[in-house]
Each structure stands twice: as C-alpha cells, then as structure tokens.
C-alpha cells in the first residue's frame, strides 16, 4: 500500500474518531520502537494508553504530534493526516515526556510564550493556572517549582487552546497523592463536551478510574484496544474463603472441590478461581455447604480483577 493510499484509508476510517492509526512504524536505527501499530481513539473517550517501558507509547504520541516522523504507516488526528500537523495541532493540547519550559521565566510568563507561539488568547492564562492549582504560584520562576508543580504547568500549557484532543504522556509523574487525585478529576472534566483524551500512565489504578477506552501495547505492537469494560470483562474473578479455625482448611477445600471448583491455598485463605458467571451464586453454594458440615466461615469475598492484575497477566501471557 502506498503512503497516499494509507493516508486515505486512515482518513476514511477517521469519521467519529479523534485518532486513527494504521500500520504506524518507527525505527530508530535498527531498533523498532513502534511496529505496524493500528488503533483508533473514538471522539469523546478518555483512552488509557498502557504498556511497559519501551513499549512505544511515547514514540507513538510523538508521531501523532509531529515531533517524530514515522518510518511507515499512516494516521489521522482530528481528521487530518499526520503529514500536515499544522492542520490539527492548534486543536490539540499535549504534554509529552517531561514538561520543558524556561526556568528563568515565571509560570505565567512561560504560558505567555506558549500562548503567543500558538496564537492562543493570553487572557486565559490566569484561569488555566487556577484550574491546575498554580494560581498562587504563577508569578514564581519555573526553576523554583517542584516536579509536581512543573507537571501541573505542563498540563496548563496543554489546556491553553481549549483543545478538542488532549495527549498526555505520564501526566501524574511527580505528583503527590492529592495531585494525582486532582489530575484524575481534571481529566474527567476535560472529557466532557465531546473532548477526547489519550493518556498514558504507569499508575494503572488511576487509569482504571478515569478511562473508558483502553489501548494496550507491548514492544511496539497492539495487544488490546476497546472499552475498559471489555478488557476487564475478559478477566476472571476469584473468591477468597477462610474458615474460623485453620484446622478446618482441608475440609473446606474438599467442600469447594465437591462443587466442581478449583481451590488454591494462599496463606490462611483458599482462593477459588471463577471462570465466568455468577460469583455471588458460587459464594452462596460454598457458604451453605460449609454450614451444613459445621464449618463457620470467617471470610468469604469476591476478588475482582484490577486493571493492573489483568494487564500483568496479559503481559505474562504475551511473554510466553
């Protein structure tokens, strides 16, 4: 397929999508950073972009933002080809890698440089500084900021142009727990009004709470893309069961097995894997059977898979 055909193809699929990537590839010398990546970010979603270090997340984002030229493949951002970043970058806010500003300038002055360069309204700077929690520190030099404050200023710069698409690479880097919580709420607010967000993070629990779309890549290739529910739906839950007396554990294990279930010991607990279906019904059956044999349960609860646990299990499977 020629580059023009690929671009046209990506564009045709781009209706209703903030980002469409088809076969995107990037080589740095002999190293393949991104390998024929194909994915789509629908308009209005908060898309979590996850993968281990070196998976190609930052390189992919850099290509979408015109910083890095792809070796092959095509993409559209907000309906425009990657080959013409000036057609869409004005509608995109981005923070890629660490926030880079001029240390001798204040936070507000840095935003003024960015706004002037992009042709954005400088009158919005105080409001954006307040939005990211830097209203009181806007007059301080960037060089005096903590890493969390620098990160916030990076987000502020990304928000200056009232962007339709926000591309954030590890936005919670350097933030304290309160800052992470603020960031999560901020992303949630940004996602309203048909805005789209593509956000990468190593803190998967944060993504789980805020993302409704997931893209999982490893070694430059796609492992999963789709709704977060769909990703998590493929993961199996388990039940944790413990008897009042440790001496009853073997009898309890026999009862569980008699229900046709697999039980693995884990400390004082038995962990019962649930392939699919009714976790609650299974818990009732185990509880009833234990009571009938005179075993009192001290613990019985469902362990739902987390994004992190499922992500790690997928990566382990991929390694195999």
């Amino acid at each position: 397929m020629t580059s023009t055909q690929e671009t046209t193809s990506a564009k045709n699929r781009g209706n209703g999508s903030a980002v469409v990537i088809e076969g995107l590839t990037k080589h740095f010398g002999k190293r393949v950073a991104v390998d024929g990546l194909t994915l789509e970010v629908p308009i209005g979603v908060v898309a979590g972009f996850i993968g281990p270090n070196g998976a190609g997340k930052t390189t992919t984002m850099a290509m979408l933002l015109g910083l890095v030229a792809p070796t092959a493949g095509s993409a559209t951002v907000l309906g425009h080809s990657l080959e013409d970043p000036s057609a869409y970058l004005g509608r995109v806010g981005a923070l890629v890698e660490s926030p880079a500003f001029w240390p001798g300038l204040t936070g507000a002055e840095n935003l003024r440089v960015v706004a002037t360069l992009a042709g954005h309204d400088v009158a919005k700077i105080p409001g954006v500084l307040n939005l990211v929690g830097l209203g009181e520190r806007g007059a301080d030099r960037f060089g005096s900021y903590s890493s969390g404050m620098k990160q916030r200023l990076g987000i502020a710069a990304a928000l200056l142009g009232d962007p339709e698409l926000l591309v954030l690479d590890e936005p919670t880097n350097g933030l304290d727990p309160a800052g992470i919580n603020d960031m999560r709420q901020l992303i949630g607010r940004i996602a309203h009004d048909q805005r789209s967000v593509l956000v990468s993070s190593h803190i998967l629990s944060e993504l789980e709470q805020v993302c409704d779309w997931l893209i999982v890549i490893d070694r430059g290739s796609l492992l999963y893309q789709g709704p977060t529910d769909g990703f998590m739906g493929a993961a199996s839950s388990s039940l944790s069961v413990a008897s009042e007396h440790g001496s009853d554990r073997e009898r309890l294990a026999s009862i569980v097995r008699s229900q046709g279930l697999v039980a693995e010991p884990e400390g004082d607990l038995l962990v019962v894997q649930l392939d699919a279906g009714d976790a609650r019904g299974t818990a009732v059956a185990i509880s009833r059977a234990a009571a009938e044999t005179g075993i009192v349960l001290a613990e019985l609860h469902t362990r739902r898979p987390t994004l992190e646990s499922h992500y790690l299990s997928i990566l382990e499977g991929d390694d195999r």
Partner: protein, 262 residues
Amino acid sequence: MIRALRAELVKVLRARVLLITAAAIVMFAIGGAAIVLTTAEPATSAAPGRGLTLEALAQAGGGTEIFLTAASFAGFFVFVVFVGAFAIEFGRGTFRTMSLRQPGRLRLLAGKMSGLLVFAAGALAVTEAATWVAARFIAPSQDVITDEWISLAGLVDGIADFGAALLWVAGYAVLGMTIAVLVRSVPVAFAVAIAWAGPIEHLLQDAWDAASRSFPGLLLEAFVAGGTPDVSALRAGLTVVLYMVAGATIAGISFSRRDMTA
C-alpha cells in the same frame, strides 16, 4: 513566523533581562570608549593598519567608529551567546515544547532568530548611542575634538556603522545557530564554537595565507574592522553573507527533517 518572533520577544523583554542588558551596555559604553580613545595615537606615530588614529576619531563618524571598534573585540562573546541561545533550547527540551505549538519548523527557527536579532538590533542601537555619549565625555581628555560628530555626516556614518554592526551580529548569530542545530547539545556546541572561533581559525591564519579571506570568524572580524590588508570590508561582508545563506540553509534542513526527540 511572526508568532515565533513575538514569543521570543516575550522571553527576552523582561525586567531581569533588560536590567542585565542595560548594565552590560553601560559597562561596554564606558569601557569601550575609554579603551579605544586611550589607545588611539596620532597619525604620525600610529603603526599602519592598526587601530584608530586621533585624527580619524575627530572626523564626523569618529564617535560611532569608536563603538564599532570596541564592538569588534566582543565578537567571540556574541558568537558564544548565540550558540548558547539555540543549543539550550535543545538541552532543556523547549524546542519540543515550541514545536507542539508551531509545527512549521522553518517558521519556528526563523521566528526565533528574528526575535533575537530584533532584540540585538535594539541593544546595538542603545549601545551605539551610549558609547557615543561616553566617548564625547572622554574625548577632550585625549585632545580629540568632537565638533564634527554632531553633523549630518556624523549621523549618516552612525547609521552605516549601526548597519555594519548588525550584519556582524547577524553573521555570528546564523553561524551560532547552525552549530547548535547540527550538534543539539549545549556542551558540544560550546566546545565546537570555542575551539573553532578561538584557536583553530587563528592558528590556521598564521599557517595559511588564504585563511583570512576564507574563514567566517576571521571574515567577520575583518568586516567590522573596516577591512584588513588581507581582505577588504566589502569582500569580507559579501563572503560572510554567503556563509550566512549556507548556514541558514543547512540549519533549516536539519531542523525541519530530524526528529524532535530531545
């Protein structure tokens, strides 16, 4: 490009930068005028082709000639400043920040250069005026009569000297930008610039006759000095312009084609 130019001016037109620049201008004006005037000798005792004579300083353009002569000693400083101004944008990753807002790389580079040159032009104009004023105060102590300085011919010479100084600064600016864009590293860019403009050009000048007519740093020195026995000011200026065109072309191609990974 205009937005990039204005953004660059936002960075430099700050109280802190302006105060530092003003202090440097005052020091340069007083120091430069004093050095040039006190080292000038009568035409009868001056070595041919070396420095300004007291008689030349008394002519209409003498006041601004002092500025140009003093500026010629600062070429190395100007060169290093411009190398640093561009290289540090790579070192800090701020070219990446700027590229996200101005994806037209050539416009970004040209805008940044234009902004710096606008600032430099303003600083040069103020420096020229300040040096002229300082020289008028110091000149009587050296028996230099300055009546001719305040004349239409003096103004014309002053404008011509300003133009020469601006081309001289622009030459160093483009060469500095080219080195910075090619090596993309502050320490390496400084090392290359200092090594080339310092020992390499001047050592080769001693060993190779054509060096004075060929190397950009030596040509810039010759141009701002009004020519040397080896090369005229006109030829030096034209060759410098060719270097500037070549440097800007190379820097532009490199900046627009290479990935912005820093």
